[in-house]
């Protein structure tokens, strides 16, 4: 929608549509219960929302979004609006039904190590130490052993986990686990970092400290970040631009540029500044209509 013409788009969604057909969805759900195939091939999420168990549906329809290189973009939307589907599409874990997704001008055809994903559930290998988990991605791209260890240590240091290299995930707090996951995604040096509600499972204090940490890492590494959240404050605090999505089918309703640039550096408590409140309210208003519409639809869906 609000195309940034001054910089070339690193990521470009063009009229992206994603349907989950009825039969496949039902089949996928059955497969998911029995075997491996669905979580492997799919998104790890139930493809059909509970309100419409029998109907196929359109998760995304006509999504247009251009993200310039090095930008921190946050996508915020009501639950079930397809924001995670958006991320899965960019990650190459699912294919769009219509439209196209370009990364550096080339269509996304499958998963790849040029995009790093940080999951809400951390997805750490419990049998590996923090160090081993960070090295996991490096093994995938064939970094020699010695270099792997050095790089893993460097990235653990970047996320503030020096001294915790030998801990297993169960010996780390939720925040520390997510730091390990972030270090893992950064270690193989992807251009783009995709974050799927990474801080949703954390308590408020940990979340705030990790948000600051993430901004610091982003400034230091200059990665392009696409961050999915349902938290309005989180969106305003982190994003250079916040893309607000409509409820079913998901579409980009508006992209709000957040002009808190100079204040970020100076303001002591950014979240209580009037500008922050203004942005927060603006996005809240945009979302509010969508949330009530989604609830209305859900009610109707149940009534029918």
């Amino acid at each position: 929608m609000t195309e940034d013409t001054t910089r070339p788009a690193k990521i470009l969604f063009e009229g992206v549509r994603k349907d989950f057909p009825v039969r496949d969805a039902a089949l996928a759900r059955r497969r998911g219960r029995r075997g491996l195939r669905r979580p492997l091939a799919g998104t790890g999420r139930p493809p059909v929302p509970r309100a419409h168990p029998a109907a196929g549906f359109t998760a995304l329809d006509g999504v247009d979004l251009a993200i310039p290189a090095g930008e921190f973009t946050v996508v915020v939307g009501p639950s079930g609006c397809g924001k995670s589907t958006l991320l899965d599409l960019l990650a190459g874990l699912t294919r769009p039904t219509g439209g196209r997704i370009l990364l550096d001008g080339r269509p996304v055809t499958g998963p790849g190590l040029d995009r790093g994903i940080v999951f809400q559930q951390y997805a750490l290998l419990p049998w590996r130490t923090a160090q081993g988990n960070v090295e996991f991605g490096l093994e995938a791209i064939g970094v020699p052993r010695r270099e792997r260890a050095d790089r893993a240590r460097a990235y653990l240091d970047l996320v503030g986990l020096t001294g915790f290299e030998d801990r297993h995930p169960h010996e780390l707090s939720g925040g520390m686990r997510q730091r390990v996951a972030i270090a893992r995604s950064l270690a193989y040096d992807p251009d783009v970092l995709l974050m799927d509600e990474p801080f949703a499972a954390l308590d408020a204090q940990t979340r705030e400290s990790l948000q600051d940490e993430l901004l610091r890492i982003w400034r230091r590494t200059g990665k392009t970040i696409l961050f999915i959240t349902h938290g309005i404050e989180e969106a305003v605090y982190l994003g250079q631009r916040v893309a607000v999505m409509t409820s079913r089918p998901g579409r980009i309703k508006r992209v709000v540029p957040i002009g808190l640039g100079e204040q970020r550096a100076t303001a002591d408590d950014l979240r209580s500044s009037p500008e922050f409140a203004r942005y927060r309210h603006e996005i809240w208003s945009l979302l509010h209509d969508e949330v009530s519409r989604a609830q209305q639809e859900e009610k109707e869906g149940v009534a029918v």
């Binding site: 995938a140 915790f164 169960h170 010996e171 925040g175 400290s209």
Partner: protein, 348 residues
């Protein structure tokens, strides 16, 4: 095992016959109490100096354990001595070890006391349930004249061969079936049929086809052990955390890599549950098989003793089998703990 069994001299005084099972639990049971909690800081500010988890296994250093071949079998197991200098260092630990040893052995001791008292007080017929001391004496005599060793060796050879072959065959097969869903769907009805057929019901078939020699006994143990391992391995592969698979997929991992780096390690705990079940099954089935047609083995010893009305000897055989079962399970648990030390102390 060896650093762990070093603690056994402290506990064996209180807990005879449980030398192998106990100390391992003791060693691994320690971390929840003493270890650093998983959430040292909710505020999530990593301290510069890491808090090291204390080594759960006590330093074996000066303690020496005599490796006595007889010790593994008999209830009067593991004899060891403590170097004099080490005593002070272990003083604190010794008290808690003794306490643990006491709590763990009190029920068994009570059972033995009842066993001893009931026949002597005339509560049960001493002919059919001789006091424990008589059974122990009979056991000792069997041990001295070599009968016990011969029969135990015969039983262990059969049960370990069957069990080992089952592990070697069922784990790879289970991984394969769990991984290739079409294969699983094809074989599933068959698996259900065999799983629900008691292995011992097939014993006559095995005897018919393979005779009453070693082959049929090892085969029936193999057969009975294969099912728990196979089914657990299949379910292990299928229940790997989907998030991990999603991660692997997002990294574009090749199928062999995915298998090696994610599926296999993630499956270890569930596979081991099957292996432990199979361990118990191997002894259970073997004893039954030996009661039907055998010239040696603990099942034969028990059965023959009953025929000859050597009742204390019969109980001696039964006690030996339960001790072997406990020891075998203890070994498998210790191995499992070692391989899955990355798990949370209480499972999830």
């Amino acid at each position: 095992m060896s650093p762990v069994s070093a603690t056994s001299p402290l506990s064996t005084g209180k807990a005879p016959g449980k030398a192998t099972g106990k100390p391992t639990r003791k060693a691994t049971g320690k971390p929840p109490g003493t270890a650093v909690g998983p959430e040292p800081a909710e505020r999530d500010v990593p301290a510069p100096g890491p808090v090291r988890q204390p080594d759960p296994v006590p330093d074996p250093g000066p303690v020496s354990v005599q490796k006595d071949p007889e010790a593994a079998e008999g209830p009067e197991a593991a004899t060891g001595r403590l170097a004099p200098g080490a005593a002070a260092r272990f003083a604190g630990a010794a008290v808690s070890l003794l306490y643990r040893g006491f709590t763990r052995s009190v029920a068994v001791t009570a059972l033995l006391a009842v066993w001893e008292a009931a026949p002597r007080l005339g509560l049960v017929d001493a002919t059919f349930l001789p006091p424990f001391s008589e059974v122990a004496l009979a056991w000792w005599e069997l041990a001295l004249d070599g009968q016990l060793a011969d029969n135990t060796a015969a039983s262990l050879t059969r049960s370990l061969s069957g069990f080992g072959l089952a592990v070697l065959a069922a784990v790879p097969l289970g991984l394969l079936i769990g991984w290739y869903r079409p294969l699983a769907e094809l074989l599933n009805p068959l698996l259900e049929v065999f799983r629900n057929t008691a292995a011992l019901a097939l014993l006559p078939v095995f005897v018919l086809l393979l005779g009453i020699g070693e082959t049929s006994k090892i085969s029936i143990v193999f057969y009975a052990c294969a099912w728990p391992i196979l089914l657990n391995t299949i379910s292990a592969v299928r229940t790997v955390d989907p998030t991990l698979l999603r991660l692997a997929r997002s990294m574009d991992l090749s199928a062999p890599r995915l298998f090696q780096k994610v599926i296999l390690p993630a499956s270890v705990p569930t596979v081991f549950t099957g292996i432990r079940l199979a361990g118990a099954v191997s002894i259970l089935v073997l004893v039954a098989a030996e009661m039907i047609g055998a010239k040696a083995g603990l099942g034969y010893l028990i059965n023959a003793s009953q025929y000859n009305f050597a009742i204390p000897q019969m109980y001696a055989g039964i006690v030996t089998i339960s001790v072997i079962g406990v020891v075998f399970n203890g070994l498998l648990v210790a191995l499992e703990r070692r391989l899955t030390s990355w798990r949370l102390p209480p499972t999830h």
